[in-house]
Symmetry: D2
Subunit: 135 residues, 4 copies
């Protein structure tokens, strides 16, 4: 399967990414970028966007990027720094960088920016690459 076929198939079953309204911006192996717009139902008790929204968006970008190589891969450890408040109607874009890819692991870095191109979060994810290929 091509990166596009894999990611489209994942996206078709990924109910959470659909609820978030995630749009795939490119299908580059190892560095898939994504975008979404924050909705009113995504805020926390401070009326700013819940940290879980930004995390989920970056975590989906991680899943798409890691799996784009054709090997079923799953996240084992992730961290996120929340750098700037995100508000309703903000458009969040995740730009992905693959830091390393070995036979069994991969490490990715995601920069999350808003529509003013301000960095709102920095995400890092480590994945385990299984023995199963996408077919």
């Amino acid at each position: 399967m091509t990166p596009k076929e894999i990611i489209d198939k994942m996206m078709a079953e990924d109910k959470m990414s659909q609820w978030l309204g995630i749009e795939i911006l490119n299908y580059d192996p190892g560095s898939v970028s994504v975008r979404m717009t924050v909705r009113a139902e995504m805020v926390n008790g401070f009326n700013v966007t819940h940290g879980g929204i930004t995390y989920s968006l970056a975590d989906s970008a991680l899943a798409f990027s890691a799996n784009s190589h054709g090997i079923r891969s799953m996240s084992i450890e992730t961290s996120i720094s929340h750098l700037k408040s995100v508000h309703v109607d903000d458009v969040l874009t995740v730009k992905t960088t693959q830091l390393t890819l070995t036979r069994k692991t991969g490490v990715y870095m995601m920069d999350v920016t808003n529509q003013k191109n301000e960095l709102v979060a920095h995400f890092k994810g480590t994945v385990y690459r299984s023995d199963k290929v996408w077919d």
Copy 2:
């Protein structure tokens, strides 16, 4: 305001925690525990629960725990290890431990278990405590 008043007020405005179906299990200052049941709309492209769900649940527990002391506090850095797959209908419980609390920062650890009491994720969160009190 008491811990209960603060957390109830946060929860009343926290649309994301409402969508998740989060239930507050206790109002102990610094170690609020929470619970939720995973729904079909919360899965990812592998038909297991999206990592963002577990993260969001733990992040809400972090917000409630940190703010329960009466000082407005926000998450600055968090990490989560996904240890075991989570499935639809699983009941997730977060048990919170406050590792440290200083004048301006706090560090918390969250153990996320399923209905079989298996550890499915381990979360760590650092918060910044602002100058504003809850009143």
Copy 3:
């Protein structure tokens, strides 16, 4: 090789752990605990113990714990929260908990305490388990 044989062999070649003065407290598979005493040459520019000392101690405990199962394993992602200042002559003890162990990965948590049994740091480490056994 037994856990003890593996760890003693690692320790014999581990110049850094020798420099730190690390003592092995137990050889329990998956949860090796260690201890060291901070020396004057280990301080940073604030005259408190350099964060790298506490990290190195916990990272050695991670290596010993992960390899004790007989499979050559290496750290891929680690994080540490520095919770309390550490001073010269403090005796640091690391207590290790294995959060999960799968065929190819393991996740460990290390609590670092001082001689007053105060928690000075919390460390989390993820390892990759190779195909090579200790023999």
Copy 4:
């Protein structure tokens, strides 16, 4: 005090950074870069460089970068991904990026490369900025 005065003063008391052989490459506020050469006494039980060496180097860069603004700042949470083995005689360079700086916190990212310009580790650090100025 200027960034250079602050960092030189820190370095003069920082016994650990002296032991590592850290060299300051620039004094740019918020993004100090450093370099060191790995010695035989810095290896672990696999005869590769102990993860604590790379961590310590990056953590020193964090301390210098955060304090260069003139406010006494200390690390509260850090993480490091070990991406590639480091060997004796490797020359490690840390390039620092300041992701955010608020009144009380700062977040920094450190890329650690070897003499072949290969990325060997990725470090992220969050600091707390105290009320004390360097004078």
